[in-house]
Symmetry: C2
Subunit: 191 residues, 2 copies
Amino acid sequence: MAHISIIGSGNMGQAISGLVAKGGHTVELVGSADGGTAVTGDIVVLAVPYPKVAEVIAERGAQLAGKVVVDITNPLNFETFDGLTVPADGSAAAEIAAALPGSTVLKAFNTNFAGTLVAGSVGGAPTTVLIAGDDADAKALLAGVVGAAGLRAVDAGGLNRARELESIGFLQITLAAGEKVSWTGGFAVAQ
Amino acid sequence: MAHISIIGSGNMGQAISGLVAKGGHTVELVGSADGGTAVTGDIVVLAVPYPKVAEVIAERGAQLAGKVVVDITNPLNFETFDGLTVPADGSAAAEIAAALPGSTVLKAFNTNFAGTLVAGSVGGAPTTVLIAGDDADAKALLAGVVGAAGLRAVDAGGLNRARELESIGFLQITLAAGEKVSWTGGFAVAQ
């Protein structure tokens, strides 16, 4: 059984917390302001908006060493709503991995709206969590947690594929904001 | 009724040709080597691999002036299979638009596998064609052609969103090549 810590109790933190518990794994949900309490999970999900991640890392970087850290962010430029705040050839995940050299960083959940994680389906198909990362064991561990909740996990490749996952997350948010898809819809993955 | 020319008679050219005809519009399918025959369509689909596009533009650039030109390419680096051959902050569509200043360039179909255009569905949902471009009338014209064939068209934003569409196309190809999804599956868009 995996033990998961989730930092950030917004929509996404709550939704991921729910699916972890649904799959029979244990979860602790920690408010992002609660920096004093050390996280205990083998997997730690950073479920805070991208601009808050640096703060979490500053407070908890040492705690995160040796752990699998899951980046779920979409680093949108919310002023222009027309691009990302990370380098064009990089990703939020790459920035986080550089800031946490002692952790194993995965990108996941950023292409899933919270509602599709709660529902377990999108457009009639099981919700698929795309996971990118350079460590196969860490990806398998997270995929097991996702699968236990009845969702599908797909290995999207190395951590450099986070760039594409963040493009998908960004486009999906613009489509929902423009009412082209609903916040319970968006991209599904057909096998 | 729209009249569409398709340059390139591979899988994608044939699939798009089929859906145009299915929707009751007229289509001419032109081999990419047939440079001598002027295209007659109001919409011209460049259904050749990205490395061939420059050749088509060199031969036909003047013919394409005043027309809606649809770029369907995924400019993968087929040597590394690990990135695109266009600038990280750009897109194939942006390169094509720069090379064809007299044409109205749209990005479309690059996130659809040919099989899903033929079937009209992916994962049980109607196949959705994401269209990016800066000209609303041109997008509406193409969306009408797509819709007439029973597929769904979604306006994905300005031509700068081609960057994200090319990220999706790239990731989808790597997922299919890695047997994570089939060539008749991939990304579906749930409303």
